[in-house]
Symmetry: C2
Subunit: 582 residues, 2 copies
């Protein structure tokens, strides 16, 4: 495919268009961001310095009509982990970049004027960089309103940062607009919003007016393969039934029943209030209030696991909070009020914050005595007053879980490589603990989602409390995920893919038909391996030793109810995860 790369130097305000180098032609998404970070960012640089780069890349299938193919990868050196980061988002930007033929955008150097708030715009004619200082300090919702007033609403997709990204704080996300133009899908993990803030870029506008969807190399084969993939996804119970019906939050009851639903800062594995915040309750609430329980975050998605969450008055509050968001700001904070969680979700989206990191921040702050567990209005006040205005307390909280723990003298810090853990306690589901420990991304459930085999019995069964088999499982999933994250497809394609060979076949057909090069499963898995290899190598050069691939010490010492289990996969086993890849 004919794709281009844009380098945007924010110091001299130049935009350079380059054809994608031959060596990178079979890379996209995470594969491309990690290759570029690995090649161009000095591993020991400060993440907010001129030497770091923010790299935005859609997947290999971006712009195609394949379902869920518009996921976006954002890469750079993470201000949160100090390692390489790929943060993945839904929404409309991935497809827009595909339509515009853009393989990657690189933001380079630092602005001369720290007060500048650049808006970077791409359309069919190329890129422009304009300073809009009036956007300074605006939340993502208001920013998107302003951008629409300037750039139009019809064919535009926005990537924006909120005030937290402008403050360059390590829990800052990058928001991507959904089909309604709302900043509800986020490259949340790892603080890349702070890197965008350090570059002085408040927003990226992608305008596809007058642009045709790329047909790809073989449009007919493309269409056949897309339809085949869509049918396989529709036929699988997870991607075809559970997710469309209840969304991601279908997991709340399931993981709570498994005793792995981290509650009150990872002090127990079940939450007495789970029924009040479950996916079933969320769906009922949305339906009762006239909201939309089934919504796609991007056009053409056949799963449509998102939803629209209205208040009691029927007015929009936020998109339906996802499983991780409900857990982090619910059970983990002792909060069982779904409306409050939706408000927190809205505030996180508006301020530009990772909802997982922030739920863990508040839980640690609660353990440290800043506010009591369960104090939802306290969390809302801290978000809307302290963080929004960048007060010292707000800056502490928006710097992430580990920093908050340091400031409030808390020892139970559920982080790996400085990044807070998602919604599965690794003492009760040990496979995911292997992924948290060994992923180059820090604690990240999406990097190797063993919940499939450990709990959902998709792709096999490996009992969650066993130590045997988890290392091999996590390794294979991490390789496959690194490949999938390069295609731009949603991770939820993995459910049917794990249960039979047809999805992988359809995917190879798709890649071959769209890209015009031959793709085999071997090519695909080699892409996963080489991507992981680059990431691990970057982290090694950044200073990560094998000891960075460990869970926090307390998870080996404090037994978690109800199974009273600790994480007991030996260190030497953890070291084997990437042995063949390093």
């Amino acid at each position: 495919m004919n794709q281009k790369i844009y380098r945007v130097n924010v110091r001299d305000r130049t935009i350079t268009e380059e054809p994608i180098p031959a060596a990178y032609r079979k890379l996209g998404g995470r594969g491309l961001t990690s290759a570029l970070v690995s090649a161009e960012v000095p591993p020991r640089c400060h993440p907010l310095s001129s030497e770091n780069k923010l790299i935005i890349a859609p997947g290999l299938l971006a712009g195609s009509l394949a379902s869920t193919s518009g996921r976006l990868s954002v890469g750079g050196k993470s201000p949160l982990t100090g390692g390489i980061k790929e943060s993945n988002a839904g929404g409309t930007a991935g497809q827009a970049l595909g339509w515009l033929g853009i393989a990657a955008i690189l933001l380079e150097d630092l602005p001369e004027d720290p007060e500048a708030r650049y808006v970077l715009k791409f359309n069919s004619e190329g890129g422009t960089l304009e300073n809009h200082p009036e956007l300074a300090g605006l939340g993502n919702y208001a920013t998107c309103d302003s951008l629409r007033a300037i750039y139009g609403a019809k064919s535009t997709s926005f990537l924006t940062i909120g005030p937290v990204g402008e403050l360059k704080l390590a829990a800052a996300s990058i928001a991507v607009t959904d089909r309604e133009g709302r900043p509800t899908r986020h490259a949340g993990r790892g603080g890349l919003g702070a890197v965008m803030g350090s570059k002085g870029v408040k927003a990226i506008v992608l305008d596809t007016a007058g642009v045709q969807r790329p047909k790809g190399h073989d449009p007919k084969a493309m269409q056949r393969a897309s339809q085949r993939l869509a049918k396989l996804m529709a036929d699988h119970p997870v991607s075809g039934e559970t997710l469309p019906l209840y969304g991601t939050n279908a997991l709340a009851e399931v993981i709570n029943a498994a005793g792995a639903y981290p509650t009150r800062n990872f002090s127990t594995g079940t939450f007495e209030g789970v029924h009040k915040i479950s996916g079933e309750t969320e769906r009922d609430t949305i339906l009762a209030r006239g909201g939309n329980p089934r919504h796609g975050c991007q056009a053409g998605c056949t799963i449509q696991c998102s939803s629209i969450y209205p208040g009691a008055d029927g007015d929009y509050i936020s998109k339906g909070p996802e499983y991780e968001t409900v857990w982090a700001n619910g059970a983990n904070c002792g909060i069982d009020d779904l409306d409050a969680i939706a408000q927190i979700d809205r505030l996180d989206d508006d301020l530009g914050l990772d909802t997982i990191e922030m739920g863990c921040v508040f839980a640690v702050a609660m353990e440290g005595g800043l506010l009591p567990f369960g104090d939802a209005s306290g969390v809302i006040r801290l978000l809307d007053e302290e963080i929004r205005h960048g007060t010292p307390l707000g800056r502490i909280l928006a710097s992430g879980t580990e920093t908050t723990g340091r400031i409030f003298g808390v020892c139970r810090i559920p982080c790996v490589k400085g990044q807070a853990m998602p919604a599965y306690d690794p003492r009760s589901i040990k496979g995911i603990g292997v992924t948290y420990a060994t992923s180059p991304m820090g604690a990240d459930h999406t990097a190797g989602y063993t919940i499939a085999q450990n709990v959902l019995h998709v792709g096999g069964q490996i009992p969650p409390l066993e130590t045997e088999g988890q290392v091999d499982l996590s390794r294979e999933l991490q390789i496959a995920t690194a490949a999938l994250d390069s295609t731009g497809l949603c991770l939820f394609v993995a459910f049917p893919m794990l249960d039979g060979p047809e999805v992988a076949e359809a995917l190879m057909e798709l890649l071959t038909a769209y890209r015009g090069e031959s793709w085999t499963l071997d090519d695909y898995l080699a892409l996963g391996r080489s991507t992981l290899h680059r990431e691990l190598d970057f982290n090694r050069r950044a200073g990560f030793s094998p000891v960075a691939d460990r869970l926090p010490d307390f998870m080996r010492r404090e037994a978690l109810p109800p199974h009273d289990s600790v994480f007991d996969i030996p260190d030497e086993e953890l070291d084997k995860v990437h042995e063949t890849i390093r």
Copy 2:
């Protein structure tokens, strides 16, 4: 010698007396704290968790009549660096421990009651642990006043923490009283005050009433060797003339002239206001106001480099601020007001803060826009209002330079292993850069003081801007210092020791006569090597990779005026420093 170890379990409030194990009999000070930390503290534990220990040990010569032999070592896993830490202090506690026959005190576990403020007292009859919650939140000066009211003034020495240690923040020091009972000598580096705070111990009282000075194995040989050492120290120009006359701050003009006096957060190497804050000016000011320009921090010291600094009204403000304190809170913050620096010194001592770390904190906060460079009254206000009261902003600042940088989005962070650099820019004096980079303690000038050879021409001459020879120099000094820090002698003994063999001979005579075992120079250097080995091994097990042995990236990129030099000793050379020790 018959010495004992006390284990104090703060959870069950028991104090256990043990004879010093045979394997540890030839260890003292840093050698002993590092051996105990290495053997008993899990390297991956959280520094504020029950698994960390605070270990207090005087040197091998503690309690003897040898000049400067009362230095104290405090060890543990550092909340600031995450690695092993030995923090070294003057004052009266080291001698008191020697008189009491105590080789080490270990504080273990965590208290049941987080509101407890224990006072741990040792006298000739053993140890007691009393709860004095009324001491909560008191500054070190008020704490010492209260302790004197309870425990008497005559024969007592105190180790105390201020409010910052109680808040368990990473810049917290442990104060040691001087001969006037003032909390002016600090185990400042590495945040061990936070570990003491986590143990719920507000103070340790050492009462030597009715105790005789230990005579040692061979009192006559001891006296001869002590006198020989004292004469050699008096005869050397640094320990016999410069330090007694001007104190440590004699260095200000010297290091400024070398272009290595880090100014305004390490952005240039000379300070236009140096004459206003130099050792010469400090001495003149003290004399003009009727203060004492020559004062020993412990009894029997023949150097007496300390002083007493009064205000314009003649009333005591603080001990004379040391070179590092004057620099950190002076040039590095753009402050040229010696009275303000003395007030800052007093506040740091009272709050229980490392003056080096805090000067770097304020300089980074100034670069981040919190207050302008040169704003001394702003610094005083932040210390006395925000930090004293533990406000969110106060907690940020008292968490150290790296955390302050994260919160205020600053990239120029002059830290190694999370610990702020002292008063010598390693771009202008490259030997000290090798020490900063490779010492297991983080950036620490005392760990291998190449300023002697690089600038002062003591012990040879190795030009400061050369890259050749610095690695070997730093290694030899790091080994010798690890040994010296085990004797309890002051580092200033190193000046005459570097200029001839007599001091080392006298020292071996002293050790042999006092301890009753034979000590040769080979034994002594082997102690240095084994101590460093244990420390490096602990850090490796804690997760430090060779990349932790690097200076911050900006020091390789940003040239420092006036020499416009960068730190250019290759990484491979740095890796050779401890190659034979690891």
